[in-house]
Amino acid sequence: MIVGEKGIRKHLWIAVFLLPSLIGLGLFKLLPILCSMVLTLFRWDLLTPPQFVFMQNFNNLIADEVFWSSLAHTLYYIAGYVPMVIVVGLALALVMNQRLKGVVIFRTAYFIPVVSSWAAVALLWKWIFNPRFGLLNYILGLIGIYGPSWIFDPLWAMPAIIITSVWKDLGFIMTLFLAGLQGIPEIYYDAASIDGAGSVRKFFAVTVPLLSPTTFFALTISLIHSFQVFDQVWIMTQGGPAGATAVLVEQIYKNATAYNRMGYASALSWVLFLLVFSVTGLQMIIQRKWVHYD
């Protein structure tokens, strides 16, 4: 290849535009990704030189009860959070999709928790869940229910975190569904009406199939996010009481910062990646059966 003056100048311009991003991404994303893979094979406390242990970190992980319980708690969180946020989010979107006056105000109100910081939201709900002085148990008391100790009770701590998370993300899921609903061409409803379909029939014959790409997207996104649950757990319970809300990312954080187990923390993070990856992959396969793209 002959590189003339013009060719050099062209490559110079490409370098000017691409290199800042490429170098940054290389240093702060690609390099850490590679290092993280390599680190899984080592034991390293940052004080003494790293020791090659091959698969030992993964063996330890499999034998570690804390890992299994944090996985179980993460799955518990997902099992509570995902169905609730999807069902309520969809229901609200359906109501909002009726052309009612003033809907914009409601949409804005529901969206405010989405943009609020998790730190503030988690602290707010920690206060609301306060067994003695909190708002929730007071309201429950008004209708004759003696509320539990919530985040201080191993049985109720995870439900409290799930409620908080649904509250925060409801506006987000609702927005996704609302955009999906508004994307359904009216023509299909008109056609269904001509065929004599009632509103229930229309919902199942038109809305459900045509909304399925959105449902798939919302489901995938909320699953990915909920595997990574951390902020609210750390602030509300720090994994307690008695380890009842210890989740995967919290274990990664603790191993990397408090226990100085860099290799083990990396191994945990790749297990998290594999979980997210395989669940997403599985969904991609299953979706062929129920998601309709027209």
Binding site: W13, I14, V16, F17, L18, L22, G24, L25, L27, F28, K29, L30, P32, I33, C35, S36, L39, V95, Q98, L100, A109, Y110, F111, V115, S117, W118, A119, A120, L123, L124, W125, W127, I128, R132, F133, G134, Y138, W167, D169, G171, T175, A179, E186, Y189, D190, S193, I221, I224, F227, Q228, W234, I235, V249, Y253, A256, T257, M262, S269, F273, F277
Partner: protein
């Protein structure tokens, strides 16, 4: 047309029911925020009261004043603003330059490099935090603004979002500019960026929100309260004044209000960006 009206105008009874559902949920969404504000305006002796009162007996701004005295709150607010603004500016700038290269320039290995960018999007942030944390220690960046800002600037998502926007723009725009002797930077700055304003705004609000609300990463690299941003500062404040909920809620108000204001001003871009990308805090 008659059918259409039936669809979009539910009967009065259904309408009332719908409004009731919306209003009921508004209570569920808004009352916690009112409780936050109300608690932040209470005097110490009224916070732990039975029954709790949504409207304070006596309204006071003491908690806000005390925050600036017993805690480096002013500094923390400044840190949050500084980090969010520099990170957003950096990310928009770096991403749009790379997006320009990917969408408007021809070079060998372009698709391979782009694929590499996309691949990084599949890796959750938790995978890289351990090595990134070690890298920060080696660079002696712990407790610095750099540690908060730089890893956030370089993000394949922004490049991807803007590239998708730039790709379909017609070529003749820049071709006539090149004939007039313009160079790539002039085309990027004067022709492409102005056209990409909606996409840039979407990326900017998402980046700003991410920087403002980010928790796990600042928690790892910042120990010194003087360098903290609001979320970690707030968690630290709570750790010190466990039962003084009036103080903590005042901190929470300071944390959420600036973000809510930005949201109300740029609502369109938030909703669009979040609905498109599925990004949220």
């Amino acid at each position: 047309m008659i059918e259409r009206e039936k669809l979009s105008n539910p009967k009065a009874a259904t309408k009332t029911l719908f409004y009731m559902v919306l209003i009921l949920f508004s209570f569920f969404m808004i009352i916690p925020f009112l409780w936050m504000i109300s608690t932040s305006l209470k005097l110490n002796q009224y916070v732990l009261s039975i029954p709790p009162r949504l409207i304070p007996e006596k309204i006071t701004i003491t908690n806000y004043l005390r925050l600036t005295e017993i805690f480096p709150m002013t500094r923390i607010v400044f840190n949050s603003l500084f980090v969010a603004v520099t990170m957003t500016t950096g990310q928009v700038f770096v991403s749009s330059m790379a997006a320009y290269a990917f969408a408007r320039m021809k070079f060998r290995g372009k698709s391979a490099i782009f694929l590499l960018y996309l691949a990084t999007l599949m890796i959750p942030f938790q995978v890289i935090i351990t090595p990134l944390f070690i890298l920060m220690r080696y660079l002696r960046w712990t407790n610095t603004y750099q540690a908060l800002i730089f890893p956030g600037i370089f993000n394949a998502f922004g490049t991807f979002l803007l590239r998708q926007f730039l790709l379909p723009l017609p070529r003749d725009l820049e071709e006539s500019a090149f004939l007039d002797g313009a160079n790539h930077f002039m085309v990027y700055w004067r022709i492409i960026l102005p056209l990409a304003k909606p996409a840039l705004a979407t990326l900017a609000v998402l980046a700003y929100m991410e920087a403002w609300n980010s928790f796990l990463w600042p928690l790892m690299v910042i120990r010194d309260t003087g360098r903290m941003t609001l979320p970690v500062g707030l968690a630290t404040l709570h750790g010190r004044y466990l039962t003084e909920w009036n103080l903590v809620m005042a901190g929470a108000v300071i944390t959420v209000v600036p973000m809510i204001i930005v949201f109300l001003l740029a609502q369109k871009y938030f909703v669009k960006g979040i609905a498109q990308s599925g990004l949220k805090q």
